[in-house]
Amino acid sequence: MISKQARSSIDYLFTEAARSSLVLHPDDACSIEPVVKEAGIAASLPGTVLVITCSSFIFRFLTLLRLGDNSETRAYYAQGASAEENSADALFEAANLCTGAINRGLSRHFPHVGMSTPYALSDACLSHLQDLQPQDVLSYQITIRDSVRLRASVCLCSYAPIDFTVNRTSASDAAATGELEFFE
């Protein structure tokens, strides 16, 4: 139900959004690699996963983000502050910005798209993504400055055929210059 070019467009929207929102300093090197097999991710990155949903009448895309369980990753998102919750707050904000950029990219092709607020779940929930009957799950390993690690997945659930192609230049502009998505 999700065409090949639509899948590729969502992949592009996510990677652009991740580069513009999860990387805190413009000079930081960032690599985003697709992960073919999801098995073992939960074991390598124990803890919580952040979930945000973009919905339209015919689809919902869930973006799931997990911080790597190492001090460099926590320190990067804590941005100098020592409290553990600072890194969690910063990741909430980054996840919100990331999904906001995807939402703006989608809204160029679908007239009615909305976005939820983020929610933290145990990563044990990831083993049950198939319960949502997704057509596809795109997974990524994100590495920033060689030591900051995140895992991300975009769970694609569609309820009608979906076919669109993003204009790659305008989509990256939207990701880079988009408005802030505020918590409610």
Binding site: V51, H112, G114, M115, T117, A124, H128, L132
Partner: protein, 157 residues
């Protein structure tokens, strides 16, 4: 709908007045649709309640898991003590084995319960977020419609 009842019939000879009246009716409908926000708010509250219940059930399940682990240890120790005591504790060994069997069954049940809670969390969160996101898109669509009707009415004036 109240919007229909309060509008008087336009002069059939005056098409502009007719159009104006229709636009007024549509505006009334759109304004009443904005009441959907109350339904969304109600659903959000219900979903928050469900999530809070899930958290409480998870805490209970952790306590249950801890009890089961303790029970397993007690049954193991009982078997060891029964073995040490030899023939005179044969009956005690049977009881210890039964307790161990109960502990194993309780552990399997606790594990299933934990898995069920994780599935519940995911399904509840996905539903909650879908309602929240869909609520936002619907309210945005209604506001867009309201703005278009406002523009149409001002063109008719």
């Amino acid at each position: 709908m109240r919007g229909h009842a309060t509008l008087r019939s336009a002069d059939p000879e005056d098409p502009k007045a007719n159009l104006h009246q229709h636009a007024g009716r549509i505006k009334g409908e759109v304004q009443s649709l904005k009441g959907l926000a109350h339904a969304f708010e109600r659903w959000h509250q219900d979903m928050n309640l469900l999530m809070a219940q899930n958290r409480a059930m998870r805490a209970n399940r952790e306590e249950l898991h801890s009890i089961v682990r303790h029970l397993t240890m007690v049954s193991l120790n009982a078997k060891i003590e029964a073995a040490r005591a030899g023939e005179s504790a044969r009956g005690f060994a049977v009881v210890a084995t039964e307790v161990r069997s109960l502990a194993n069954r309780a552990e399997a049940l606790s594990k299933d319960f934990g898995t069920g809670l994780h599935r519940n969390d995911l399904a509840t969160t996905a539903t909650f977020q879908d309602i929240q996101a869909s609520g936002k898109l619907m309210m945005a669509a209604i506001s867009g419609l309201e703005s278009m009707i406002g523009q149409l009415r001002s063109q008719l004036d």
